[in-house]
Every structure is written in structure tokens, then in C-alpha cells.
Symmetry: C2
Subunit: 303 residues, 2 copies
């Protein structure tokens, strides 16, 4: 039994870091993630650099990483200008994004949901014409920082629209980390009535500790693709109080314990986590990384 | 649908804290937990004070707390001497403990499993004769820091022995926090073949981030009683690298989101968490507490 992991640390993770990291550090992180066996890595974002200064060097990062065989490198693309940059970097896949809630969409991309559809459709058509694969994100599925609860119909409508544009996979996001397993189960159970289960993915933030429980709830409905972030990096700069994505280390530990295959080498993954923790100079959220480093520290004392 | 929470923060949580807290702080914490609606509170331990200096003041703490109506106050008891102290404090319930693995039992209570049974049986019989209720703990069910994997038969045998002694409930503990949902599901599915499901409880540590996912896995088998610790305090001083218990705040948040009743007021619970965090002078593990305090901080800035 296999589970697909989409590593979003270099994008969803780093975009929330205030101190700008050198491009070489980002490239080194991405290379370590690929070496650990991650086969889909969201490496950066082609949004306007004024919005997310940390990822202004997307072109530089993507042109300096090793392109490991069998690994898909992808990036966020908001418009045709972003698509042109992604193409110039030689990407084979891009990710489009919008919210399930009107207000979050307005604050995040300065457009209503209705204004967003035609823009993304144009980008998707052009990307497909260029032979690229397109992934879609739906944010604030389980709650919006401005509107509170988000009706399931919103998520259904945005998911359908992105699938119709030609996205091969839609990632449903708990942007502010409010979901509990019941809501996750209920949402996916509804969505799989219309969309093929293998085209849906779960994207959870661990703001309230329910991230991995939500993964298991989605797996109960048959979802087998999850986004996660090395070290548990991440958050949304426009969602107050939002903490990081679920940690890739914790997710891999759990999935392997449940006898799922991920293709990831946990030991190498922990080296990638330790690397970026050292570069950022603070303890990251990943519990498996914490336990690993505590054990290493104890072993060093015993010697 | 109801779930019973056994709050173990004042015992399993605080026993791992090096700096000795004033008895008045412990009593205040226990009172706040009761005010938040927790109906079973493990308040301290009557093990030899040399083993756990932090809980040497068990008698003082238990004699100064408010005894809220409908709340069960309990404490660990290792032997007849401990039982005498518990009786003198007017407790109506005690908790006995042993491990599923031989080496952990030896390191933790200096006796083999076989040597432990008659001692606990004597304490249980005496407690029952005094009209007290007896709860049993089985530690290292999902893994031992010294032996690694622990055979399911060990846990079954210890569980049966404690039930035969007259314990009304057995709490199965992932002492070092290694379990994943599949193991939890498999263990409880096996145990409920022999033991009534309502007499089993789950006790999870969140060392690797799987704590709440493990709760949901146990609930799938019908388990409805869980131990947790305010703020996610806790750990085992004899289990290297072990991090805290699952956080009561996170557990309650998840259960309420899943439409279970717990009788706990999350807002008041967060006040108890903020109180003990302030007393300990460091950030605690509870994610819901972190999110709550971050939101309060942002709200204060906006004013």
C-alpha cells in the first residue's frame, strides 16, 4: 500500500520565515529532500516577489538545484507571468491556488472567487498546452480566519472548477488548522461522490495538534496523497495564529508504522530536518525530529 | 456520545519537572482543572519521595485542594505504605502501576513482573476492603526503551492480572510515545476479546506526534476513556527522550470538534494551561494553548 507525499516545506514552509535565507541554502534543502526519497517537491513560488520576499529567488533556486531523476519539482503560479517564469525554469508541473472562502481569497490574491476562475483557467490551459501538469489547491476548506466555518458547497464548487480546468489533483487545505477528524472524514466522503478519490489530496496544518489524526481520517475515505513540510515548517502569512504544516518526519514515521510505503528514507529525512533547523537557528515543530535529536544528544553524553 | 478524560497532569506531568513547585501552586492547578469540568484528576503519587522528589508533598497537596463535588481525586500507590497515606488523605480511588516489559518494570519499580503481582494484589485487596476504587496502569505497551517491541501477550497478561485484582479500569500506556494508529487499533481489538471495552483506557504520549491519531484509532475500537495532561506536560524520567502526555486542551478541542461530550469547558481549561505555563516559566507543548495565547496576543496588539 502506497501513500504519495507532496513535500511543501521549501514553499509553504519557508514563505512564512521573515529572515531571508540564501538561495544556496534553499537549493541544498531541496536536494536533501530529493535524496531522502521525496518524489514531489514544491520548491518555490512565482507569485509577485513583493508579496512573498522570501521566495523572490524562485528562478535562482530552481536553476541551481540538482534535478534528480524521477522527482517532480513544482511551484506555485498565480498568473501567466508566473507561468512564463516556471517555463523558463524548465518545470514540468505547476500549482494553482485559490480559497474556498470569499474573504480569504480577496485578502490572499486580491480578487473574488468569480474573478479568479477565468485567470486560473487561462493559466491552466496554457500550461497544459506547454505539456505541463497542473495541480490545484483549495485553501480554507475547514475554516476561514475571516468568515469562520466554510460551507462544504464552496469547496465542492472550487474543486470541480479546478478539475474542469484540467488539474490532475486537488489538494484540500486546512489553512488555519482547525479541522478535526470528523470534519475531514465528512468532507472527503462528500467530495469523492463527484471526484475520483485518487485525484484528491489532504493538506493539513497542525495548529491545534489534530494534523496526523486528520490524515488518518482522510485515509479512511481512501485518500492516499498528503502534503507535508520538513520540520513542520510553515503557516499562512494572512491567517493570524496559523502554525506550520504537518511535519514530513512525523507523517512518514506514522505511515511506516502503519505499514504504508512512501519511498522515503526516514533517517535521511531527519538529516534534512536537522539541516534546515540549524540554518533557521531555532527548534522546529517536528516531534520525530525533536525525539531524534534528543536521542542523539543522550547517545553523545553516554560515549 | 461521551468520552471520559482522566487528567494526569498534576502527577504524570509534574513528576518530570526538575524544579520543585510550591504545594500551593499544585493545589491551585488541581482546583482550576476541577473548575474546568474535569471529573477525574490524578493529583499526585505516593511512591517513595526519594524516587520522585517533585511529588514528595502529595499529602500536603491532597489535604489543601478543594474537594469539588462529583470530582474523583486519585493518586499513584506502589505499596501498602502508599495506600495508608492515600487513605489518610481521604482518597476514594487509587492507581496501581506496572509495565508490560520486564526491563522497564525492573528499572521503574525495582522488581520483576512476577514479584510485582503479589504486592499489587495485596494493595488492591486492602484498598477494596477500605471501599476505595482501584485503577490499573500498564506501561510500555507499544514499546520499551530497553527491550524495543513488546509482545501483545505481555500486555494481555498484565491487563488480566490487574482486572482480576479488582481494578475497575486498565489504562494501556504508550510510555515512550512510539505507537502509530495501526498498532493501537490492533492492540485494543485484541484486548477487547477478553476484557469489556468500557474497562479499558488509552494513555498516549505525543513523543512522535501521533498521540491524537492514536486516540482516534482506539475510539474506532470503542475505547471511550483517555488519559491526558494539561499543557501536554509529562514524560517518564526512566524513558530516555520521552516527551509529554497528549495535551488535554488538544484532546478536548478534537473531541468537541468530533461532537463528543466531555463535560469540560475548553475556555476554562485554557486558563488552567496558561496558569501552569506561567508558573513553569516556559512554553508548554499544547498546540491549542499556543494558538489561544497567540490569538490573545494579536488581539491585544489590535486594541
Amino acid at each position: 500500500m502506497k501513500v504519495k507525499i507532496v513535500e511543501v516545506g521549501p514553499r509553504d514552509g519557508l514563505q512564512n520565515e521573515k529572515d531571508i535565507l540564501p538561495s544556496a541554502v534553499k537549493a541544498a534543502l531541496i536536494n536533501k529532500l530529493a535524496e531522502a526519497g521525496l518524489q514531489t517537491i514544491e520548491a518555490s513560488s512565482f507569485v509577485n516577489p513583493r508579496w512573498i520576499p522570501q521566495l523572490a529567488d524562485a528562478d535562482e533556486v530552481l536553476s541551481t538545484i540538482n534535478r534528480a531523476q524521477g522527482v517532480t519539482y513544482t511551484a506555485l503560479v498565480p498568473n501567466l507571468r508566473g507561468l512564463e517564469r516556471a517555463r523558463a525554469c524548465g518545470l514540468n508541473e505547476i500549482a494553482l491556488f485559490m480559497s474556498a472562502s470569499q474573504t480569504h481569497n480577496l485578502k490572499n490574491i486580491n480578487k473574488t472567487l468569480e474573478e479568479t476562475y477565468p485567470i486560473l483557467r487561462e493559466v491552466a490551459l496554457e500550461a497544459l498546452a506547454l505539456g505541463m501538469r497542473v495541480r490545484g489547491y483549495v485553501s480554507t476548506v475547514f475554516g476561514c480566519p475571516y468568515e469562520g466555518k466554510v460551507p462544504l458547497d464552496n469547496s465542492r464548487r472550487v474543486t470541480e472548477a479546478l478539475l474542469e480546468m484540467g488539474a490532475y489533483e486537488i489538494s484540500l487545505g486546512d489553512t488555519i488548522g482547525v479541522a478535526t477528524p470528523k470534519q475531514v472524514h465528512d468532507l472527503f466522503r462528500e467530495l469523492v461522490k463527484d471526484a475520483p478519490v485518487q485525484r484528491l489530496a489532504g493538506h493539513f496544518h497542525d495548529t491545534r495538534g489534530t494534523g496526523l489524526a486528520n490524515v488518518v481520517a482522510a485515509m479512511d475515505v481512501g485518500i492516499r496523497t498528503f502534503d507535508s513540510s520538513i520540520g513542520g515548517l510553515g503557516g499562512c502569512p494572512y491567517a493570524p495564529g496559523a502554525a506550520g504544516n504537518i511535519s514530513t518526519e512525523d507523517l512518514i514515521y506514522m505511515l511506516h508504522g502503519m505499514e504504508y510505503e512512501t519511498g522515503v528514507d526516514l533517517q535521511k529525512l531527519l538529516e534534512a530536518g536537522a539541516f534546515i533547523q540549524k540554518q533557521l537557528g531555532r527548534d522546529l515543530n517536528s516531534k520525530v525530529l525533536k525525539a531524534h535529536l534528543a536521542a542523539e544528544c543522550l547517545a553523545a553524553k553516554d560515549e
